[in-house]
């Protein structure tokens, strides 16, 4: 799994690639929470279009990022969900809780 960040006008976009599972979800969690809690970036966007698989620990990291954002009145956005990623969010009844878009253009124009 690799995660990198792009910054532009009040927005940070994290590009994640590979699988998010128990081996690396702490890295994702750490990056998201630092951006939200420490930097207080108004809009944090996660590009998941190159993530094929997310396990429950990865979902938990996303939920932590979302809750931290809500606590600070910031936005937390996902886009590019694979079928597997969409399934786990549906299974956990979280798909409607997150702000989800198909692609980056839609996410940034929202």
């Amino acid at each position: 799994m690799q995660i990198s960040a792009r910054h532009s006008d009040q927005t940070t976009i994290f590009d994640v690639s590979g699988d998010i599972d128990l081996a690396n979800s702490p890295e994702v969690r750490k990056a998201l929470l630092r951006e939200v809690r420490e930097k207080r970036t108004p809009r944090v966007v996660l590009n998941l279009s190159n993530v094929r698989y997310i396990d429950s620990s990865g979902v938990a990291s996303l939920v932590e990022g979302l809750k931290a954002s809500r606590d600070l009145n910031l936005r937390f956005i996902l886009f590019g969900l694979s079928p597997s990623a969409r399934e786990v969010l549906q299974l956990s009844r979280l798909l409607k809780i997150f702000e989800v878009y198909d692609n980056e253009d839609q996410a940034l124009s929202s």
Binding site: D21, L22, A23, D55, S56, V59, K67, S84, L91, L94
Partner: protein, 163 residues
Amino acid sequence: MGQRDTKGVSLASNEGFLLKLELHSDPQLLCVVRGALERLTEVFGFSPPDRRSVTRAVDEALTNIMRHCYNGRTDQPIEMYCARVPPRSSDSADGLEILLCDQGPAIDPAKLRGRRLDEIKPGGLGLHFIRQSMDTVEYRRVGSTNQFRLVKYLQPSKQSRAL
């Protein structure tokens, strides 16, 4: 369940044994197991959504073993056995049985229920994913071994002749 292994592992059938994996409780190996299961379930004849379901359930069960049975130790043994099992009824199809064995302490079955989903909070989703993904989920303690048995049945029209 019929006996098929000298280590006390019992699978539902003496026929149809497909694959055995032995691994350490290292999260870095989860992707290796997922890769093997993706191919096995494809050759077995599952649809793409069912392949993802089986792979997800086994991955989550292994994650639970690594986190809770072995408390994050990465050098402990895990065994995985995969076998074909017969249909549940005359109008159904064969199933894929996966048996996961670890040597951690016994588990309180009350902790295997999972949590309610009406609260938005991290954690506790793995068991829910497993139960949603598989047709059968069983746990039992045999001697010093925890055994998790997962079964997923093929849709009748999708049964493969490849294996």
